[in-house]
Protein backbone atom coordinates (compact mmCIF):
# COMPACT_ATOMS: atom_id res chain seq x y z
CA UNK A 1 0.00 0.00 0.00
CA UNK A 2 1.54 3.30 -1.12
CA UNK A 3 1.13 5.60 1.88
CA UNK A 4 1.91 8.73 -0.16
CA UNK A 5 -1.22 8.14 -2.27
CA UNK A 6 -3.34 8.52 0.91
CA UNK A 7 -1.37 11.59 2.02
CA UNK A 8 -1.81 13.27 -1.37
CA UNK A 9 -5.52 12.39 -1.49
CA UNK A 10 -6.10 13.80 2.02
CA UNK A 11 -4.25 17.06 1.25
CA UNK A 12 -6.06 17.42 -2.09
CA UNK A 13 -9.46 17.03 -0.40
CA UNK A 14 -8.55 19.39 2.46
CA UNK A 15 -6.90 22.13 0.38
CA UNK A 16 -9.62 21.85 -2.28
CA UNK A 17 -12.32 22.17 0.38
CA UNK A 18 -10.66 25.12 2.12
CA UNK A 19 -9.91 26.85 -1.20
CA UNK A 20 -13.47 26.25 -2.36
CA UNK A 21 -14.91 27.72 0.86
CA UNK A 22 -12.71 30.82 0.55
CA UNK A 23 -13.47 31.31 -3.16
CA UNK A 24 -17.23 30.87 -2.55
CA UNK A 25 -17.17 33.37 0.36
CA UNK A 26 -15.00 35.85 -1.56
CA UNK A 27 -17.22 35.77 -4.66
CA UNK A 28 -20.43 36.05 -2.59
CA UNK A 29 -18.99 39.05 -0.72
CA UNK A 30 -17.69 40.80 -3.82
CA UNK A 31 -20.94 40.25 -5.73
CA UNK A 32 -23.13 41.53 -2.85
CA UNK A 33 -20.94 44.55 -2.06
CA UNK A 34 -20.66 45.56 -5.74
CA UNK A 35 -24.42 45.29 -6.14
CA UNK A 36 -25.02 47.30 -2.95
CA UNK A 37 -22.65 50.01 -4.20
CA UNK A 38 -24.36 50.12 -7.61
CA UNK A 39 -27.80 50.46 -6.03
CA UNK A 40 -26.48 53.04 -3.56
CA UNK A 41 -25.20 55.20 -6.43
CA UNK A 42 -28.61 55.25 -8.15
CA UNK A 43 -30.41 58.62 -7.82
Amino acid sequence: MNQWAFVIAAYAVFLGGTGGLLAWSLLACRKAEDQAERIGRRP
Binding site: M1, Q3, W4, F6, V7, A9, A10, Y11, V13, F14, L15, G17, T18, G20, L21, L22, S25, L26, A28, C29, K31, A32, E33, Q35, A36, I39, G40
Partner: protein, 238 residues
Protein backbone atom coordinates in the same frame (compact mmCIF):
# COMPACT_ATOMS: atom_id res chain seq x y z
CA UNK B 1 -19.08 43.88 22.71
CA UNK B 2 -22.20 46.01 22.19
CA UNK B 3 -20.01 48.69 20.55
CA UNK B 4 -19.41 46.34 17.61
CA UNK B 5 -23.09 45.47 17.25
CA UNK B 6 -23.42 48.46 14.91
CA UNK B 7 -23.07 47.11 11.33
CA UNK B 8 -21.34 50.29 10.05
CA UNK B 9 -18.74 50.15 12.82
CA UNK B 10 -18.33 46.41 12.29
CA UNK B 11 -17.73 46.86 8.54
CA UNK B 12 -15.08 49.51 9.20
CA UNK B 13 -13.12 46.89 11.18
CA UNK B 14 -14.13 43.80 9.17
CA UNK B 15 -12.81 45.01 5.80
CA UNK B 16 -9.14 45.42 6.80
CA UNK B 17 -9.40 42.44 9.19
CA UNK B 18 -10.46 40.19 6.29
CA UNK B 19 -7.37 41.15 4.29
CA UNK B 20 -5.07 40.63 7.27
CA UNK B 21 -6.59 37.27 8.19
CA UNK B 22 -6.35 36.08 4.57
CA UNK B 23 -2.69 37.15 4.29
CA UNK B 24 -1.64 35.74 7.69
CA UNK B 25 -3.66 32.56 7.12
CA UNK B 26 -2.18 31.88 3.69
CA UNK B 27 1.41 32.40 4.90
CA UNK B 28 1.06 30.30 8.09
CA UNK B 29 -0.87 27.53 6.31
CA UNK B 30 1.69 27.37 3.49
CA UNK B 31 4.55 27.05 6.02
CA UNK B 32 2.64 24.42 8.00
CA UNK B 33 1.67 22.35 4.95
CA UNK B 34 5.21 22.54 3.52
CA UNK B 35 6.66 21.56 6.92
CA UNK B 36 4.24 18.65 7.32
CA UNK B 37 4.80 17.34 3.78
CA UNK B 38 8.49 17.95 3.14
CA UNK B 39 10.36 18.75 6.38
CA UNK B 40 8.79 16.58 9.09
CA UNK B 41 10.24 13.06 9.41
CA UNK B 42 7.86 10.08 8.92
CA UNK B 43 6.42 8.57 12.10
CA UNK B 44 8.17 5.41 13.33
CA UNK B 45 4.87 3.53 13.51
CA UNK B 46 2.45 5.23 11.08
CA UNK B 47 5.05 6.13 8.47
CA UNK B 48 4.03 8.81 5.95
CA UNK B 49 0.32 8.79 6.88
CA UNK B 50 1.10 10.73 10.09
CA UNK B 51 1.36 13.78 7.79
CA UNK B 52 -2.42 13.66 7.32
CA UNK B 53 -2.91 14.53 11.00
CA UNK B 54 -1.52 18.02 10.39
CA UNK B 55 -4.65 18.87 8.41
CA UNK B 56 -7.07 16.52 10.19
CA UNK B 57 -6.49 18.12 13.62
CA UNK B 58 -7.10 21.73 12.41
CA UNK B 59 -10.24 20.53 10.60
CA UNK B 60 -11.54 18.92 13.82
CA UNK B 61 -10.59 22.00 15.87
CA UNK B 62 -12.38 24.34 13.44
CA UNK B 63 -15.44 22.11 13.12
CA UNK B 64 -15.84 22.07 16.91
CA UNK B 65 -14.67 25.67 17.44
CA UNK B 66 -17.10 26.79 14.75
CA UNK B 67 -20.08 25.39 16.63
CA UNK B 68 -18.81 26.92 19.89
CA UNK B 69 -18.73 30.31 18.15
CA UNK B 70 -22.17 29.63 16.65
CA UNK B 71 -23.57 28.81 20.11
CA UNK B 72 -22.08 32.01 21.63
CA UNK B 73 -23.53 34.06 18.75
CA UNK B 74 -26.89 32.30 19.23
CA UNK B 75 -26.85 33.17 22.95
CA UNK B 76 -26.09 36.82 22.10
CA UNK B 77 -28.94 36.74 19.57
CA UNK B 78 -31.41 35.43 22.16
CA UNK B 79 -30.29 37.40 25.22
CA UNK B 80 -29.10 40.77 23.85
CA UNK B 81 -30.74 40.72 20.42
CA UNK B 82 -27.46 41.79 18.86
CA UNK B 83 -28.13 42.83 15.26
CA UNK B 84 -24.92 41.11 14.17
CA UNK B 85 -25.19 37.95 16.29
CA UNK B 86 -27.57 36.15 13.91
CA UNK B 87 -25.48 37.28 10.92
CA UNK B 88 -22.35 35.87 12.61
CA UNK B 89 -24.03 32.54 13.46
CA UNK B 90 -25.35 32.15 9.90
CA UNK B 91 -21.87 32.99 8.52
CA UNK B 92 -20.10 30.49 10.79
CA UNK B 93 -22.40 27.58 9.89
CA UNK B 94 -21.24 26.84 6.29
CA UNK B 95 -17.56 27.31 7.22
CA UNK B 96 -17.96 25.00 10.24
CA UNK B 97 -19.84 22.44 8.13
CA UNK B 98 -17.03 22.43 5.52
CA UNK B 99 -14.38 21.81 8.21
CA UNK B 100 -16.47 19.16 9.99
CA UNK B 101 -16.81 17.38 6.63
CA UNK B 102 -13.05 17.77 5.94
CA UNK B 103 -12.30 16.32 9.38
CA UNK B 104 -14.41 13.25 8.55
CA UNK B 105 -12.94 12.92 5.05
CA UNK B 106 -9.26 13.29 6.05
CA UNK B 107 -9.82 11.00 9.06
CA UNK B 108 -11.34 8.38 6.79
CA UNK B 109 -8.41 8.60 4.34
CA UNK B 110 -5.99 8.28 7.28
CA UNK B 111 -7.99 5.39 8.79
CA UNK B 112 -7.81 3.14 5.72
CA UNK B 113 -4.01 2.50 5.80
CA UNK B 114 -3.75 2.87 9.61
CA UNK B 115 -6.81 1.06 10.98
CA UNK B 116 -7.59 -0.96 7.85
CA UNK B 117 -11.05 0.61 7.51
CA UNK B 118 -12.53 3.78 5.99
CA UNK B 119 -15.17 4.07 8.71
CA UNK B 120 -15.95 2.71 12.16
CA UNK B 121 -18.98 3.54 14.32
CA UNK B 122 -16.61 4.72 17.04
CA UNK B 123 -17.72 7.33 19.62
CA UNK B 124 -15.49 10.11 18.25
CA UNK B 125 -16.29 9.48 14.58
CA UNK B 126 -20.02 9.17 15.19
CA UNK B 127 -20.25 12.32 17.35
CA UNK B 128 -18.28 14.23 14.67
CA UNK B 129 -20.71 12.98 12.02
CA UNK B 130 -23.56 14.19 14.25
CA UNK B 131 -21.87 17.61 14.37
CA UNK B 132 -21.82 17.74 10.55
CA UNK B 133 -25.55 16.89 10.45
CA UNK B 134 -26.21 19.54 13.12
CA UNK B 135 -24.53 22.14 10.89
CA UNK B 136 -26.72 21.04 7.95
CA UNK B 137 -29.83 21.26 10.15
CA UNK B 138 -28.86 24.70 11.43
CA UNK B 139 -28.30 26.03 7.89
CA UNK B 140 -31.68 24.72 6.73
CA UNK B 141 -33.45 26.17 9.78
CA UNK B 142 -31.66 29.53 9.60
CA UNK B 143 -32.44 29.87 5.89
CA UNK B 144 -36.10 29.05 6.53
CA UNK B 145 -36.54 31.63 9.27
CA UNK B 146 -34.23 34.36 7.93
CA UNK B 147 -37.25 36.24 6.60
CA UNK B 148 -38.39 36.78 10.20
CA UNK B 149 -35.25 38.79 10.94
CA UNK B 150 -33.92 39.16 14.48
CA UNK B 151 -37.14 37.79 16.01
CA UNK B 152 -36.56 34.24 14.73
CA UNK B 153 -35.89 31.98 17.71
CA UNK B 154 -35.73 28.45 16.31
CA UNK B 155 -32.24 28.68 14.75
CA UNK B 156 -30.49 30.27 17.79
CA UNK B 157 -32.19 27.80 20.16
CA UNK B 158 -31.03 24.97 17.89
CA UNK B 159 -27.52 26.50 17.95
CA UNK B 160 -27.51 26.49 21.76
CA UNK B 161 -28.98 23.00 22.17
CA UNK B 162 -26.57 21.59 19.57
CA UNK B 163 -23.63 22.79 21.68
CA UNK B 164 -24.24 19.77 23.95
CA UNK B 165 -22.50 17.71 21.25
CA UNK B 166 -19.18 19.59 21.71
CA UNK B 167 -18.26 18.08 25.13
CA UNK B 168 -19.57 14.73 23.86
CA UNK B 169 -17.04 14.89 20.98
CA UNK B 170 -14.28 16.00 23.34
CA UNK B 171 -14.84 13.32 25.98
CA UNK B 172 -15.89 10.55 23.58
CA UNK B 173 -12.38 9.06 23.58
CA UNK B 174 -12.52 8.77 27.39
CA UNK B 175 -16.13 7.60 27.70
CA UNK B 176 -15.98 4.99 24.92
CA UNK B 177 -12.65 3.24 24.57
CA UNK B 178 -12.79 2.31 20.89
CA UNK B 179 -10.57 2.88 17.86
CA UNK B 180 -9.91 6.63 17.99
CA UNK B 181 -6.85 7.58 20.01
CA UNK B 182 -6.99 9.88 23.05
CA UNK B 183 -5.69 13.47 22.94
CA UNK B 184 -1.99 13.87 22.14
CA UNK B 185 -1.93 17.57 23.12
CA UNK B 186 -3.17 18.67 26.55
CA UNK B 187 -2.81 21.84 28.58
CA UNK B 188 -0.11 20.17 30.66
CA UNK B 189 2.02 18.96 27.74
CA UNK B 190 2.17 16.80 24.65
CA UNK B 191 3.37 13.35 23.65
CA UNK B 192 4.27 14.55 20.11
CA UNK B 193 7.97 14.98 19.28
CA UNK B 194 8.98 18.65 18.61
CA UNK B 195 10.12 17.79 15.06
CA UNK B 196 6.54 16.70 14.27
CA UNK B 197 4.77 19.26 16.43
CA UNK B 198 5.84 22.61 14.94
CA UNK B 199 4.04 22.25 11.54
CA UNK B 200 0.84 21.47 13.47
CA UNK B 201 0.91 24.87 15.18
CA UNK B 202 1.34 26.58 11.81
CA UNK B 203 -1.57 24.67 10.24
CA UNK B 204 -3.73 25.20 13.36
CA UNK B 205 -3.24 29.00 13.43
CA UNK B 206 -3.07 29.36 9.64
CA UNK B 207 -6.33 27.56 8.88
CA UNK B 208 -8.00 29.25 11.88
CA UNK B 209 -7.13 32.63 10.32
CA UNK B 210 -8.55 31.46 6.97
CA UNK B 211 -11.70 30.25 8.77
CA UNK B 212 -12.01 33.72 10.36
CA UNK B 213 -11.57 35.38 6.94
CA UNK B 214 -14.28 33.16 5.41
CA UNK B 215 -16.68 34.04 8.26
CA UNK B 216 -16.02 37.78 7.89
CA UNK B 217 -16.53 37.57 4.10
CA UNK B 218 -19.85 35.78 4.57
CA UNK B 219 -20.96 38.33 7.20
CA UNK B 220 -20.08 41.19 4.84
CA UNK B 221 -22.00 39.48 2.02
CA UNK B 222 -25.11 39.10 4.20
CA UNK B 223 -24.92 42.71 5.41
CA UNK B 224 -24.59 43.94 1.80
CA UNK B 225 -27.56 41.78 0.76
CA UNK B 226 -29.64 43.25 3.61
CA UNK B 227 -28.68 46.75 2.45
CA UNK B 228 -29.76 45.95 -1.13
CA UNK B 229 -33.06 44.54 0.08
CA UNK B 230 -33.77 47.61 2.24
CA UNK B 231 -32.98 49.99 -0.65
CA UNK B 232 -35.17 48.03 -3.07
CA UNK B 233 -38.04 48.04 -0.55
CA UNK B 234 -37.69 51.80 -0.06
CA UNK B 235 -37.63 52.33 -3.84
CA UNK B 236 -40.73 50.17 -4.28
CA UNK B 237 -42.59 52.06 -1.53
CA UNK B 238 -41.70 55.50 -2.96
Amino acid sequence: MHRFANPARFLKIAKPATTWLLAIGLVLSAIGVAGALFVMPPDYLQGQTARILHIHVPAAWLGMGGWTGLAIASAAQIVWRHPLAGVAARAIAPAGAVFAFLCLATGSIWGRPTWGTWWEWDGRLTSMLVLFFLYCGYMALAAAEKERGPDGRAAPVFGLVGAINIPIIHFSVQWWNTLHQAESIELTGTSIAPAMLWPLFFTLFGFSALFGAAVLLRMRAELAATKIEARLRRAAAA
